[in-house]
């Protein structure tokens, strides 16, 4: 891409603001996971017994869902940048659809956990499980709402190959949700 002015040279994709958000989000989730890891050392038996109650198959499916939606997001954005508005809309639809699928699978997983009568106060492992995955769920929900706005405005032609920064910002937020999940999943579900 040709550098037309200083702004596009200095500013990262999506604008600096979203990167501040990403940075703080990553710091927050990393802190939570580090505390989880250190608490795990204090009671390995409890943590590994509780971990066995988690549904790794659903976790795996969710990982695939999010990664695929990330691919669609990136493709959608590059279509928008190349001026293929219709294709961009289609890919945004797919991204949102997979986001909703992620939340549906997660909701089922939470339902299973309720059946097992585990909650935030069951034990320390489940406290971390509920809070970390719960916060992540909230981020996905917020991202899906934002993506829906992006979709509506791309459809109406407000966003074009010249004006795509908002879509790019939301895209970065979406990839951040992927990234966090990719770390949360192995640490909480798989690590023995």
């Amino acid at each position: 891409m040709e550098i037309t002015n200083n702004k596009s040279f200095y500013y990262p994709p999506g604008g600096i603001l979203i990167w501040i958000v990403v940075f703080l989000e990553l710091v927050t989730f990393s802190m939570a996971l580090l505390v989880f890891m250190s608490q795990r050392q204090t009671d390995l038996q409890l943590f590994s017994e509780s971990q066995k109650l988690l549904n790794t198959t659903l976790g795996m499916l969710n990982t695939i869902t999010l990664l695929t939606s990330g691919l669609f997001m990136a493709t959608g954005l590059s279509e928008l940048k190349s001026g293929n508005q219709k294709k961009a809309v289609l890919y945004l639809w797919l991204t949102i659809g997979l986001g909703i699928l992620f939340m549906a699978l997660k909701a089922y997983e939470y339902y299973e956990k309720f059946q097992l009568e585990t909650s935030v106060i069951s034990n320390e492992f489940f406290m971390f499980y509920w809070f970390i995955t719960g916060f992540h769920f909230l981020h996905v929900l917020v991202a899906v709402v934002l993506l829906s706005f992006m979709l509506a405005k791309t459809k109406s032609g407000s966003y074009t190959f010249e004006n795509f920064e908002d879509v790019e910002s939301v895209g970065i937020f979406w990839h951040m949700c992927d990234l966090i999940w990719i770390v949360v999943f192995p640490v909480i579900y798989l690590l023995h």
């Binding site: 603001l17 501040i20 703080l24 710091v27 927050t28 802190m31 939570a32 505390v35 935030v120 106060i121 406290m127 971390f128 809070f131």
Partner: protein
């Protein structure tokens, strides 16, 4: 100033100054009592002095915020205040309720609930007063010709601050439950909604002083303030140690309060950047000093010193000790007291037409009070750490420890004296301004014109 009605702010600022002086006097009473010279004990017992000191702090800062709102909102909404007589009524009722409350503390008329000692009947008067204040501000905004993000963020901060007074007014039989909700009030104020007020006032000051575009300042400041605000709400969890709340608050409170310094750092970097970016410098150097010191000292006091004792493993020992006093003093000073002094320094020349922009008294006020407050913080830190080790780890009795740490309060009083000298200088400048006058109308147009060049 642009509008005659902005002059009402002066009353609130004057009340702030008066209450600040009283607050300092009560601080000294406690400092001497800690040192072993509790001569006033029969008249003003330690807990009376403590309650008065803390309540005065809250009231003078709120009075400063109200004055700031009465000055800023007409300017930002480009119209006269909704009603000056109502604003005057609000001022006098606010002052009278404050005086009755403080006097009541001395004759045992209080509730004994830390920070919210004011008895219930007065609570209702406070609530009525604040509603009147909000009606005046909201009506001004609604009928105003313009509206700005700055004005709305400031107003929403004030509205939420009023709403958050309510959890402290609910009656509970159970003292633990009562305590749990009582924490909401002051802590969600200082770590939550007051930061919106701070954001609003800081944005206004930076727009006026640095000459940087409103769009740039508003966009950035609200991101920073938003982050501070969001990390602050969950960060409040770090106060839930001995209130009977579920233990997961330790994790949530620990993590989010560890984020708060980052958000404050963002605010500091931002304010300094805006100052460097602005090429048309406002002649009011004193206002600039206080504005920048608000951004910087709030990071040190609220951010770093907060983090110093907020993590669960540390707070288990330091909760409710002089370590809290260390953090509390620099945090309130940096984030809120300096902010009120900044808006006073900025608005007084414009209300009175006397251009005290940069004089010796003003500079001495700034440096003495800041250096004094840092000294006090250091003294509290030393006393607090000693107290924690002796009392909470070695297990000595509370009063035995209090005796051991008496020498630290000598240092505290020395530093507090320097601080007080600074505040006296500030008040001398405040008095030099005299009273606001209609002749000062349009006095800020010179700089506005300069900016437009």
């Amino acid at each position: 100033m642009k509008f005659k009605s902005q002059k009402i702010a002066y009353h609130f600022f004057a009340l702030s100054m008066l209450l600040l002086v009283l607050q300092i006097i009560y601080g000294f009473i406690m400092g001497f009592a800690h040192m072993g010279y509790d001569g006033l004990h029969e008249l003003i017992s330690f807990n009376t002095a403590s309650a008065t000191h803390k309540n005065l702090l809250v009231v003078w800062i709120l009075s400063g915020f109200m004055g700031a709102a009465y000055y800023i909102i007409p300017d930002e909404s480009d119209s006269e205040l909704f009603s000056v007589p109502l604003a005057k009524l609000q001022f006098w009722s606010f002052a009278i309720v404050g005086v009755i409350a403080v006097a009541g503390f001395h004759v045992g008329w209080w509730e004994g609930r830390k920070f919210l000692e004011i008895p219930r009947p007065l609570d209702f008067l406070v609530a009525g007063n604040v509603i009147l204040f909000l009606v005046i501000i909201l009506m001004t905004l609604i009928k105003g010709k313009k509206s700005s993000t700055t004005a709305w963020v400031l107003t929403m901060g004030l509205v939420f601050a009023a709403l958050l007074y309510l959890p402290g007014m609910i009656y509970f039989d159970n003292i633990s439950v009562d305590s749990f909700f009582r924490w909401y009030v002051v802590h969600l104020w200082v770590e939550g909604v007051w930061e919106l007020i701070m954001g609003g006032i800081l944005a206004y000051l930076l727009i006026k002083i640095t000459g940087v575009d409103r769009e740039v300042i508003e966009k950035w400041l609200y991101v920073v303030v938003g982050l501070t605000f969001l990390s602050g709400i969950l960060g409040t969890g770090h106060h839930y140690y001995y209130t009977g709340g579920p233990s997961y608050w330790l994790m949530i409170g620990g993590i989010f309060s560890a984020l708060e310094p980052l958000a404050f750092l963002g605010m500091t970097v931002f304010a300094v950047q805006m100052y460097r970016k602005g090429n048309k410098k406002h002649p009011n150097k004193l206002a600039l000093y206080w504005t920048l010191s608000t951004a910087i000292v709030s990071f040190l006091g609220a951010g770093l010193l907060g983090l110093a004792h907020t993590l669960p493993g540390v707070n288990m020992y330091t909760h409710g000790t002089l370590v809290t006093a260390m953090h509390g003093h620099l945090a309130f000073w940096g984030a809120y007291a300096s902010l009120v002094l900044a808006i006073i320094s900025y608005s007084m020349p414009l209300m009175t037409g006397r251009n005290i922009f940069d004089n010796r008294t003003g500079r001495l006020a700034f440096w003495c009070s800041n250096i004094g407050m840092f000294g006090m913080t250091g003294a509290f830190a030393a006393a607090g750490v000693a107290q924690v080790y002796l009392e909470r780890i070695a297990g000595y009795d509370f009063m035995t420890v209090a005796k051991e740490i008496e020498p630290h309060f000598f240092v505290l009083i020395l530093a507090a004296t320097l601080f007080t000298v600074g505040i006296i200088y500030f008040i001398i400048n405040f008095l030099k301004f005299g009273r606001p006058t209609d002749e000062a109308l349009k006095s800020d147009e010179d700089f506005e014109a300069l900016k437009a060049d």
